[in-house]
């Protein structure tokens, strides 16, 4: 309700309220950009670019659409544009993977798990992070929107301007690719 008030104010030309809109979305947009692009600096630039676009075009925002759908549509398009311009996915960088893997030492230790199980879980987490970054961008985008930004499939369909079935298909294929990587990983560790 408060956010709607700020959006209405900014739309009416009271730009001093824009920072409130930014505060509400900066974390989510930055996470989306970081997971899509993989570099903090680039993710920060994209996040800033998204908010500048929002700032410049807020008068064009149609109230019939959810604001989150609108802002995330801008964000996803910006990420895709960036990736197309770069024409490469930089996330296979070993340093990033190792940094990411190290961070998991502090995360998600479940009670009652043996050290080996904990180790396996950490390894799985690191591999899933790595493999998400290697997924084709359309699959990756759906997975990030669902699991990082916590959108429902219907909301994702609205953001991407695609049908619900397309979103489901992309999620299905993304999961299948991750599962295949997981099986490969298991087979490799068996030998």
């Amino acid at each position: 309700m408060e956010l709607e008030f700020f959006i209405a104010k900014v739309k009416a030309g009271e730009n001093q309220y824009f920072n409130n809109v930014v505060s509400a979305y900066q974390q989510q947009i930055y996470n989306l950009a970081f997971k899509m692009i993989g570099h903090q600096e680039d993710a920060r630039d994209i996040t800033q670019e998204v908010f500048i676009k929002v700032y410049n075009n807020i008068t064009k925002y149609d109230d019939n659409m959810k604001f989150s759908t609108w802002i995330f549509r801008i964000a996803t398009n910006s990420c895709i544009d960036f990736l197309r311009k770069k024409k490469e996915i930089l996330l296979t960088d070993e340093s990033i993977i190792s940094t990411t893997a190290n961070k998991f030492v502090f995360v998600d230790e479940r009670k009652g798990e043996s050290p080996q199980q904990i180790m396996e879980r950490k390894l799985l987490k690191a591999h899933i992070n790595e493999k998400i970054n290697q997924l084709p961008e359309h699959y990756r985008l759906v997975i990030i929107l669902k699991y990082i930004n916590d959108f429902t499939l219907e909301e994702i369909a609205a953001i991407l301007n695609e049908s619900l079935n397309t979103v489901k298909t992309r999620l299905y294929r993304g999961r299948e690719l991750l599962k295949n990587h997981l099986i490969e990983l298991k087979e490799r560790s068996d030998y």
């Binding site: 730009n15 920072n19 930014v22 920060r44 998991f104 990082i148 999620l171």
Partner: protein, 195 residues
Amino acid sequence: MKCQQIKLMMHEALDEDSRASELCKLIDSHCSLCPSCKALWLDFQNIEIELTNLERVEVPLDFSNLNWATLALEEANKEASLQKVVPQSQLVNILLGLGIMILAMWGIVEIGQWQLFIAQLWNMVTIGIAETMVSYGAIAVKNIFYWWIMANAMWKGFLSLVIINITSVLSIVAASALALIYLFKLRRIHLLNVM
């Protein structure tokens, strides 16, 4: 129930929270009899857990403190300065285009019969424009007849021309083609800038 159906059901259970518990019962009862599906379901569940717990990153910079009006202005200035670069490349294109046009004209002047042809063509076009007010049908008949005579005359002339000086003809054709390409390119750049 077939394993393939169960696999689809697994995806559905992961996609839809509302039907998850109902689908999970069916999946679990199948998995109790099918080890391969059981392993698959375990993999999917593990992936789901890890996806749900994916690491979130903190914004390194407090965006909410930025002055967005200034940033938007800076961005607009940056874009405007980028656009200023375009006319320079346009100038190069214009100069190159003009150079090629001059080369083509020189070729036409060198081979005298073409000069005559251009003059006649121009004459006909201007007369045609002036006459459009009178009768479209009559002008069309006149023009077709005129073109038929012109084409016959020029065809003979063109053949002898090729035989006499093939190098000059080839250079004219090449130069004209290049001139056309540059003109189209210029037109496209101009159109893009207008948009």
